[in-house]
Amino acid sequence: MKHAKTATQNACKLCNPLGACLAFRGIENCVPFLHGSQGCATYIRRYLISHYKEPIDIASSNFHEESAVFGGSHNLQVGLKNVTAQYKPEVIGIATTCLSETIGDDVPMILREYTKTYRNGSPMPIMIHASTPSYQGSHIDGFHAAVRATVETLAEKGERQNLVNMFPNMVSPADLRYLKEIFTDFRLPCMLLPDYSQTMDGGPWGEYHRIPPGGTPASAIANAGKATASIEFTSTLADSKSAAGYLEGAFGVPRHKLSLPIGIKESDKFFDLLETLTEQPRPEKYEDERRRLVDAYADGHKYVFEKKVILYGEEDLVVAMTAFLREIGMTPLLCASGGKSGQLKQRLIELIPDLEEQGIKVREGVDFMDIEDEAKVLKPDFLIGNSKGYTMSRKNNIPLLRIGFPIHDRFGGQRAHHIGYRGTQELFDRIVNTVIEQRQNASSIGYTYM
């Protein structure tokens, strides 16, 4: 039966402010603040907590009826005052919801007014405002909007420094730690934004932390305009929405746009770039990682060759995963995303010029019912994407390999690697094991060597 198309059924995306809250958690001493109803903050906290298993305080201006009628200025100001008193933040990251956007609150003006009223010589937190109406785009747009708003607010002009800005996209805390390690090993100073590697995957507390330790300091972000280069991992982000794009335009910081480095070829590009920027070869450790990965590809190639998958998630992740799957001989039957940048197909054609002849389908703006309809026809060997695909995975008896965000039904999503040689290695091992497990389960013999 054809399914209803007008409504979105089992959405394959989340709303704009969620991404902004996550990005703001990657700034040191920063409290994310949602200008809207109480529920938005609470739901987003719940959703993030279920993946990251960390306390996540998100303040809300807590609209009520009068705010909706007369504007949210009063609530926003009271809210900022209370958050400042209770959390003593250095930075408050303010994201708007559909409600405050629709009534047309002029947030920058309210913030100016607030600063004037409450300054009184006492230190005032830095306030960053990202416009994130939920009726536009999805969570990934909010993520990028917050990153861009942060550099727009903080970056300063000055003499060039030996510094590279790294905009990693919405990767896992483990991926962020790996990036920091790479930069340290290259002895290349790096401004990583956002950096929630510790705030979203930290240690136990002996005492209560109003704001968990970790994140990129505002003072470091201020130097972003003085960097010698920016690297951003994205293939579908419009220049007008990119932080690196802004720094290039406003401060002449050269911008290097790479796809998320998943797979050997894309990881090579990233390491080649670091070699060029530092004028030195990559540390031996990464040659080793690469060698082990090539070796693993050889050991496992027969398991994965021409295995058919359906891939879904944020567009950049889908593009990067497609590149990886192609280099190990797997076939993505469908590359799908709930996002709608309009760029997905073009980027994939650049990777696979004969995409259409090969019958590889590309669909953007889909929900899980759309993907399920496709799955019934395409009959993939497995699905690759976040844990929200479990419903269709179970119903149609197709295994699901969980990557990205959210992972709500498995442990350790925040510690999963995706990028670089190390991330690719982990993904490859998991894919091969998925195939082996499938074969073992299907076998009547019960082989103990597979």
């Binding site: 399914h3 007008t6 089992n10 109480q38 529920g39 938005c40 609470t42 209370n82």
Partner: protein
């Protein structure tokens, strides 16, 4: 350690029981302070919680995608049949819809979804933005109901129009429209509706069985394992038995007014309150002493099985301290008693939505030194957990990481739980879960305990 103060404007919502001094009422039933990081949600959340388990209706969230995405299959409410409630439907409003209105999209969505799923009814939740752009969802619902022949019920749950409690009311209002539209033929005089029981992990089935063992007919469970046809004939019952009182008392009152059905408040948590909820129902049918006899029989059989089992836990847990922060205050009463029965004391008791009576009763019940809070936040909860040296926190998903970060046990007593905690068997599960969390050796590594170094 840094001193943590109470936020200005919240002092009256926090109370510490000391030396029997008579104090004024705790402030409550106010909207959350802006910027306070309340653990509460919004009006929409209240409505969604109440109606969520109705399994043969479709639930459409009219608004941008977030509200539907964050409530997709998030609760442990199980169904014995259809499972439409586990799907997430949204009109996913885009910018153009916000500008030109979303009525047409809502209409088409409804017509198509009803065609595809053939539900018994449809609930349409209006979210913040719908309240602003002025979509006439009542008119759309009326039109679709006329065209499809099923009840299509608007639920006015714009997030900013009040608190979670107003959302409960909006949901009850929608249910009230269904009640009274079905036939009451064949319903026994000794019959009840179970209200405010959401069948998390099958709890409604456990409770229902106890009543059935007493010879009571359960006409309808609102809304656990809910069915539209059962809701429609709920007015045929002789008594409404209300659990989660915050959410469903308004429906019980409306049914009393309109259909003359009296109601009682009960709780199914802990031996004491579980037993009482059976006796109280039996008391309602004094002309049938056999019901009371049967109730006594149920209690005695169940307690005989349960009591020895609990002793192992009690032995280990005696002297341990608990902090409770849950949605409704009524549940805290039961939890305090349940914890006492396994040797634990309560050092913090709080709720998101308690009222003055609830807090007065809490003050009476609690031990000296216990802190009582209304609409608290992570900073305060952490402060009291540390100051009072709690060994366990009982709450929901948002409270869980606070406990684990600070190195204490946690019991999920909210809608996401997958293990039944209601009824006599639920008391066993509760004690087991508390025991497994509090007594785990992993806490020896918590910095608070010296980190085992």
């Amino acid at each position: 350690m840094e001193h943590i103060g109470i936020l200005e404007g919240r002092e009256k919502q926090v109370f510490e029981k000391k030396g029997g001094i008579e104090t004024s009422d705790i402030a409550c039933e106010t909207s959350s302070l802006s910027g306070s990081v309340s653990q509460r949600a919004c009006v929409f959340c209240g409505s969604r919680v109440v109606l969520y388990p109705v399994a043969d209706a479709i639930h459409i969230v009219h608004g941008p995608i977030g509200c539907a995405a964050y409530t997709w299959d998030i609760r442990g409410a199980v169904s014995s049949g259809p499972e439409l409630h586990r799907l997430s439907f949204s009109t996913d409003l885009q910018e153009m819809d916000v500008i030109y209105g979303g009525e047409k999209k809502l209409y088409l969505s409804l017509i198509e979804l009803i065609e595809q799923y053939k539900p018994k009814a449809a609930f349409i939740y209006s979210t913040c933005i719908v309240g602003l752009i002025g979509d006439d969802i009542d008119a759309v619902c009326k039109k679709v109901a006329a065209e499809t022949g099923i009840p299509v019920l608007p639920v006015h749950s714009e997030g900013f129009k009040g608190t979670k409690k107003d959302g409960y009311k909006a949901a009850c209002f929608a249910l009230m429209k269904l009640i009274g539209t079905g036939s009451t033929e064949g319903i026994s005089k000794q019959s009840i509706n179970i209200l405010g029981e959401f069948n998390l992990a099958g709890e409604a089935w456990i409770i229902r069985k106890y009543y059935e063992r007493m010879g009571i007919e359960v006409v309808s469970t609102l809304t656990g394992d809910g069915r539209i046809d059962a809701v429609k004939r709920a007015h045929g019952a002789s008594l409404n038995v209300v659990q989660c009182s915050g959410s469903m008392t308004s429906l019980a009152k409306d049914m009393e007014e309109k259909y003359g059905i009296p109601y009682i408040r009960v709780s199914y948590f802990g031996i004491e309150d579980m037993s009482k909820s059976l006796y109280d129902v039996a008391l309602h049918f004094p002309e049938h002493p056999e019901i009371m006899e049967a109730a006594k029989q149920v209690v005695s059989e169940e307690v005989k099985k349960l009591y020895p089992e609990l002793q192992k836990f009690k032995k280990a847990l005696t002297g341990k301290k608990a902090a409770i922060y849950v949605g409704g205050a009524f549940k805290t009463f039961s939890l305090i008693k349940a914890l006492r029965s396994i040797g634990m004391s309560v050092v913090l008791a709080g709720s998101q939505t308690g009222n003055k009576d609830d807090y007065r009763r809490l003050k009476e019940m609690c031990d000296e030194g216990t802190v009582i809070v209304d609409d608290s936040n992570p900073v305060e909860l952490s402060k009291f957990i540390l100051e009072k040296e709690a060994d366990l926190l009982i709450g929901g998903v948002k409270e869980r990481p606070i406990a684990f970060k600070l190195g204490i046990g946690f019991c999920d007593h909210n809608h996401e739980r997958k293990i039944p905690l209601a009824g006599f068997v639920g008391m066993y599960n509760f004690a087991l879960e508390v025991y497994q969390s509090v007594m785990s050796p992993v806490w020896q590594f918590a910095p608070r305990k010296g980190g085992n170094r």
